[in-house]
């Protein structure tokens, strides 16, 4: 027994280890990524892999669970959309070994394009969802989830949020359970093959299971009633519980850990003991609507915001509103501070592509990754983003609609492997003519450098194939496949122009490793020769954080510059030189 300060994600990894998990899969996505990154510490006992996407990850784990292995799968909330297809039917088929799907939501959209509430998927797929509120619970709930999964032969969703996944709190750890599970797939078509004739039977079982689990939920240790002052009772879950305890220290609380199937009996008992009932939940009013459907009177969304994340501050404001008090005027922050948005790193190879594209009057359909930052000024060269892989297929859609301008789709290597390949195949098959650029840095950079099918290395550190994007392009039927070095701006511009002019589809693969990962100088650190510089600002159009302009002076920060030389290539006066050249 030892107390450790762990993030929720580290704790889930520890929980998987302690619970005897032997297979763990996932696809990186903030705020879920660190779960598998920590599971790999136990690679002696747990096979783990980054799958090309969440659907594949879930399918791999589902089959492993069919064979009797205890498994976890990890992804961010939008990843579950990708894995929704196997999820919905896996609910029917069920599992043999425990399967916990760890899904991290991002209320407030710290690093996401939407703030969907994963609990909806539990109701939709008719499977349980468990919600830890701190790291200790995150660890413990993995085992509880696996046991629940095995007892009812159902996949279970463990839903965290950014604040659960990324906050650190103290965790008491334990030893790994020695399960000695027998692995072996037992042939049983009515159980594992949802042909309509079998699936109809499965459909009924899902409902029976749901009602059994609802009874279980009312007795589950994951749901806790804390009786205190009975004037106000609060039903809450996840991180919101922590805020509730600070804002209403006197109130009675029903804290749901196993939120769905709803513990109706427990909810009714709790409601009967308190005078007023308040539901405090982040994002969608899922508990609230259910409590109302039970015919119980409660408040919730009227006071508790459903947009963005909650905090003790937000709930203090809600409490004042409920009590009919005036809102506390928060002292306005300092005005006119310059914004400090995230930017492409100094020396990032993606910059070369965006800069070169800036010279073309085209529509750019973008995708999800570091290169999303190419949307921001001064690069300003991405026009749409929808979802993973969308950058490829959407270019084709604009093209087929008859868009007057040429269309370019941009996607990263990991996103291309994730779901860009099918879009490219569509372009080739359906005779599109868009230009697709894959910015290939051989790593999943935005989420913190996870290996992918192009890296040549597995999550467990073994050497493996490095999938070639040009070859995949050719195999899809694209005959114009070009490779460029994005640091060579003139050449890059030339290739982009040629491919835009071509009346057939083309694939440009921009090949250069992630500057942040490599952490090495690409050339001598540059400086601006003040005697030559005309302050024309051309170099500033690169949006490089190493080039600083303030108080009428342009300087290169020598600590940030990695000598990529793009700025010296764009300077019309030759004012950007290395120390040696001076």
């Amino acid at each position: 027994m030892a107390m450790r300060l762990l993030s929720g994600n580290e704790a889930i990894a520890r929980g998987a280890y302690e619970a005897g998990v032997t297979v763990a899969t996932g696809y990186p996505g903030t705020p879920s990524t660190e779960i598998l990154e920590n599971v790999v510490k136990y690679k002696e006992d747990i096979y783990c892999e980054w799958a090309p996407n969440e659907k594949v990850a879930l399918e791999v784990a589902a089959a492993a669970a069919y064979a009797g292995a205890r498994c976890i799968v990890t992804m961010k909330h939008v990843g579950l959309n990708v894995a929704a297809d196997p999820l919905m039917t896996l609910s029917y088929v069920g599992v043999e070994g425990g399967l916990v799907i760890c899904v991290a939501d991002d209320p407030g959209m710290h690093s996401s394009q939407n703030e969907q509430d994963t609990r909806n998927y539990a109701c939709f797929a008719k499977i349980p969802v468990i919600e830890p509120s701190d790291s200790q619970e995150a660890k413990n709930f993995v085992l509880s989830g696996l046991e629940l999964s095995e007892k009812y032969k159902t996949p279970v969703i463990l839903r965290t949020t950014t604040r659960v996944s990324h906050s650190r709190s103290m965790v008491e750890t334990a030893e790994r359970i020695n399960l000695q599970k027998k692995i072996g797939f037992v042939k049983d078509p009515p159980r594992f093959v949802p042909l309509p004739a079998f699936a109809r039977g499965m459909r009924k079982k899902v409902e029976t299971r749901l009602s059994l689990m609802a009874d279980h939920a009312s007795k589950s240790e994951l749901n806790k009633t804390e009786l205190n002052d009975k004037a106000l009772g609060i039903i809450t879950s996840s991180i919101a519980y922590q805020y509730v305890r600070e804002v209403w220290p006197q109130a009675s609380v029903l804290k749901l850990g196993l939120t769905y199937p709803f513990p109706d009996k427990l909810i009714r008992e709790f409601a009967a003991q308190v005078k007023d009932l308040l539901i405090v939940e982040e994002l969608d009013p899922i508990i609230e609507e259910h409590v109302l459907s039970l015919g119980l009177k409660c408040e919730g969304r009227k006071y508790i915001p459903g947009i963005g994340e909650l905090s003790a501050d937000v709930l203090f404001a809600a409490r004042r509103k409920m009590e009919g008090k005036e809102a506390v005027q928060v002292e306005p922050g300092e005005k006119d501070l310059p914004g400090r948005p995230p930017v492409l790193c100094a020396g990032c190879p993606h910059r070369g592509i965006f800069y070169a594209l800036g010279k073309q009057d085209v529509v750019v359909t973008g995708d999800i990754g570091c290169y999303s930052l190419g949307t921001l000024k001064p690069l300003d060269r991405m026009d749409t983003i929808l979802c993973m892989g969308g950058g490829v297929s959407m270019a084709h859609g604009l093209d087929k609609a008859g868009e007057n301008k040429k269309v370019v789709g941009i996607v990263g290597d990991s996103t291309f492997f994730h779901s860009g390949i099918t879009g490219l195949l569509d372009i080739a098959y359906n005779k599109g003519k868009s230009t697709i650029i894959v910015v290939d840095n051989r790593i999943t950079a935005m989420t913190g450098h996870q290996d992918n099918p192009g890296s040549g290395k597995t999550l467990m550190g073994e050497k493996t194939i490095a999938a070639s994007i040009p070859e995949i392009g050719r195999a899809c039927g694209i005959s114009r496949v070009r490779e460029v070095n994005p640091y060579d701006l003139q050449k890059t511009e030339k290739v982009i122009k040629e491919e835009l002019d071509a009346e057939e589809p083309s694939l440009i693969v921009s090949i250069a490793p992630c500057a942040l990962k490599e952490k090495k100088k690409l050339g001598p650190v540059l400086k601006i020769d003040a005697d030559v510089c005309k302050k024309c600002g051309q170099c500033l159009k690169l949006g490089c954080p190493a080039i600083e302009s303030a108080e009428g002076e342009i300087k290169i920060n020598p600590y940030l510059c990695i000598g990529c030389s793009m700025c010296s290539q764009v300077c019309p006066f030759g004012a950007i030189i290395s120390e040696e050249e001076q």
Binding site: M3, E34, S167, R168, R245, L337, R340, P342, I547, E548
Partner: protein
Amino acid sequence: MKEIKTTSIVLAGVGGQGILLASEIVAQAAMAAGYEVKTNEVHGMAQRGGSVLAQIRYGKKVYSPLVGCGTAQVLGSLERIEALRFASYLAPGGLCVVNSQKIVPVTVSMGAASYPDDAEIRLKNKFPNLIYFDAAEEAGTCGNLRAANVALLGALSTGLDLPEKAWHKAIEVSVPEKYKDVNLKAFERGKTKA
């Protein structure tokens, strides 16, 4: 007025300045002193050169990992104007420790915004209890510019009730062995700035 039972610390800066290590040291120090600890840090998109915030809370019992508005006992900033950006976290009269280093955001370089030239005056007006110094320079005299974050913690520690022994232990467990001495020196040097 809210009753403050939990001690809250907010650290601000720019991605890449060592905020996460600083946060780890504060957390370890609080643990070494026998408290329950919770922290929260920013990951992912927000780390690419953007403003970065870390929050640490400790006490006998800690619920929320997030620091409420106007409740932080101390606010530390590794960059000059980031303290102004997150000023609302600091409790009235709380200690604010600011590294005078200036990092020009891209928004300023491209001419969309300007970097305040009166930052020091604004800091002095905003924070009656201010320690403002060049933490990188102090760390440099101890042997490594990169220990600026720990020099800042030295000054910041004067506003907290954690024992010196806990801080030293925290530094020892949080930094690689070969950087231990320089960080301990930087911490002590930072303390003299109070």
